[in-house]
């Protein structure tokens, strides 16, 4: 469902200046005691800012989609309409999850101070809260998976730069003023900018007979001697240019059509079975990790391995169709898989890997060495503090 067009002036003002919220969020990050005494309070503020930001982004996406634009100015795709509602809830949960974790921890610590026997039950509250949050996110994502007909979940946020929204809203205002029915020209300029990252269409196979012929360019006298390699390269360049032009024309044509943005999801992918299994594993990976973490404890390798195995299995299933059945991944799917691959780095700072190999090992030695240099000492202390804080909270490193 596409959200309604904003009418309130305050909302319009906020939408047109939503990027400044990022500045506010950065300021909150550096509040005194952000990771110390006032951690809960500042995290609360941060969560509120995040919720506001995600709400504004949700509305901004709605504005873009209702104006028939599915890409923001930096080339990123706006989630399609059938994503928006569920994704809004997921991002809301994500905005609040850290706050709730901290709240549960703080409550636990207060109880610890008054009655140390209640330690376990308080710890259990924290575990239960995290479990509920992870389960809630998994259920929401599962719902999204059903909505997308088993397609890979490629959208995880709906960030829209405020300048894009501002341009559209201004145009709409101008249109109203001038009573014009034509499509706004500025919108087109945004769309035209989007074509920059459409170069994936240019991967014409030019492995052989390419321009890197050693014998063509190594002699100054040769420049005027035209060879067959030169001709082929030139032809390929022309074909590439023509394809590009054709692609751009198609894009422009599509963008001029009012029915471009699909309100309904596409049919199930050809590799439906494997892709769905991959997605389900990806969705439930954090739940599996957290449950096993609660069962086996922080020092056990089992949760770490279970999570990694689930992650790798998910990736294998998701890419199975591509490698075995030659079903090509879309650009968004490839990007998403790449994003997931990058998230694997979190395994380096999760327990017990971090303690075993990084924390007390290499990193500590390296940082201690750097601390000997006077200028770095304060910086290193801050960095170590940040690292320790990041590792004490599950959601900082959960990548869920």
């Amino acid at each position: 469902m596409i959200p309604k067009q904003p009418k309130s002036n305050i909302l319009i003002f906020l939408l047109e200046n939503s990027d400044h919220l990022g500045l506010l969020k950065s300021l909150i990050t550096f509040l005194p005691g952000r990771y110390g005494d006032s951690e809960l309070f500042s995290e609360g503020l941060y969560s509120v800012a995040n919720i506001l930001q995600s709400y504004l982004d949700y509305r901004s996406s709605g504005i873009l989609l209702s104006n028939n634009i599915d890409k923001i100015s930096n080339g990123e795709k706006v989630p399609p309409p059938y994503y928006l509602t569920t994704l809004r809830w997921i991002t809301t949960v994500q905005s609040l999850e850290l706050f709730f974790e901290m709240l549960a921890t703080k409550k636990g610590e207060q109880h610890d101070d008054s009655n140390s026997n209640n330690n376990n039950s308080n710890n259990n509250i924290k575990k239960m809260i995290i479990f509920i949050i992870e389960l809630l996110k998994a259920i929401l994502r599962l719902k999204l998976l059903i909505k997308t007909n088993g397609d890979m979940l490629v959208h995880h946020s709906f960030y829209v730069p405020s300048k894009d929204v501002k341009t559209i809203l201004e145009n709409n205002r101008n249109q109203q003023k001038q009573f014009q029915n034509k499509r706004p020209a500025v919108t087109m300029s945004i769309n035209n900018n989007n074509n920059i990252n459409n170069n994936d269409n240019n991967n014409i196979n030019n492995n052989n007979n390419t321009n890197d012929d050693n014998f063509n360019n190594n002699n100054n006298n040769n420049n005027n001697r035209r060879t067959l390699s030169d001709q082929i390269f030139e032809q390929q360049r022309i074909v590439n240019q023509e394809n590009n032009l054709l692609y751009q024309q198609q894009r422009e044509l599509q963008q001029n059509e009012s029915t471009l943005i699909k309100l309904l999801p596409p049919p199930p992918p050809k590799d439906y079975n494997t892709k769905t299994i991959g997605e389900i594993l990806f969705i439930f990976r954090p739940v599996i990790y957290w449950v096993s973490y609660c069962i086996f404890g922080k020092k056990s390798w089992k949760p770490w391995f279970l999570s990694l195995v689930t992650e790798l299995l998910s990736k294998s299933f998701s890419e199975y169709g591509n490698f075995k059945q030659k079903i090509r991944l879309t650009l968004l799917e490839a990007k998403e898989l790449n994003r997931r691959k990058k998230l694997l780095f979190f395994y380096l700072i999760r327990s017990p890997f971090y303690e075993k190999f990084i924390g007390d090992g290499l990193l500590n030695k390296f940082l201690n060495f750097l601390k000997k240099i006077h200028i770095f000492k304060t910086l290193i202390d801050i960095l170590i503090n940040y690292l320790n804080v990041y590792r004490t909270r599950y959601f900082y490193t959960s990548a869920s």
Partner: protein
Amino acid sequence: MENFQFEDLSPNKVSKVYQDLKKFGSFLYNHKMGVFLVSFSSGVAYLYHNITQSHKRKQIKLAKERVMTYFESTQKLSEREVDAIITKFIDENKILDKIQTPSLASIRSEKDPSEKLKLTDQLKVSIITKLFSVLYIIPMVTIFNRLQINLIGKYCYLDYVLYKDQEQHSMRLINQQTESNFINSRNNCYFFKDINFSQFINLIQEQIKISLKDWKIDQQSSFEGFLKLLINIRNNFEKKEIIASISSDNSLLKYLIPTEEEIDNLVQSQKTPENDNDIEYQNLKMLYNEIRNIFESQKFYDVLKDSINQSFLEFTKNLREDFESTELKKQIDSIVLPDLPIEMEIPKPLVTMHNIILLPKINKQIGNIIVNKKSIIEKIGSTDLINQLNYSVLTNDLDFNKVQF
């Protein structure tokens, strides 16, 4: 290396090793879940890696093998073709007879001293010209034919070889007519065309005339002295700025291919106002342009130099035997060998000889080289340099990892 000592395997040490192994076994048993998870995750990681990479690696490997098989077979084909070309033009058509050589009998019968001198000069020049012609023709034709075959391979067959099992219809970038016009064969060899080959011979002859000015026929020559003479003459042809510069007047390579003007004329002659049917000649022109570019490259110069060295080495190795003195060797052996504590082969001593005796021997060696040309062609063809150059011409330095299968 330290010597192995049995003390190292004393019972205490054996039992310690046994204990350690036992500890390790119990460690594995106590952490069986961990071991299972590690092996399971490694298995999954391996499978994942296999699924993603093995197919492409296999395709790359197969493609490389196919290209290499094609390359090797075409190089062999080229060797046979070069052998056939040289046999036809030198053995059968006696093309070297263009170099007029006076016979020793005619020199002896000549009474006029100035005429006699002129004839002897002509004899030495013609024999050395023949020698240089043969020693240059073999490597030049070999390398050139290879280049031609590999350029044709690049434009006509590489795609087919690469994607053999991909059911892709590869397209020839040049047609068969252009291919047969371009490739030298025993029936169509530009190099051995009358006027062109005469010019090639003249160029060598003129240079040799100058170089042999002080090399009198009644003088004596040592083997080393003759080698120096060969090097001096070779320097006149083989300097990079001369041989690799196709526009240079003294470049021998320019006789291998038609000049740019000749090609332009050919293209123009095929073009008619009604019909623009000169595409195959345009392609031919571009192929020759590519050959010119290769001729001027450093890689080619290295290959050419190496190949010419191979043919000269074959000749000098055989000529050395003519300078060896068996009698002198026997004398030395009888004096030296009985006193030597161990058996050893003393190289045969070399003697000097009159140039009038040397020249017929050189002439005989030229005949030997022509007879044994196949082995020289094979030697040239088997060097790494020539294979590297031609492989890079065929594949255009293709990065197999980037090929889309």
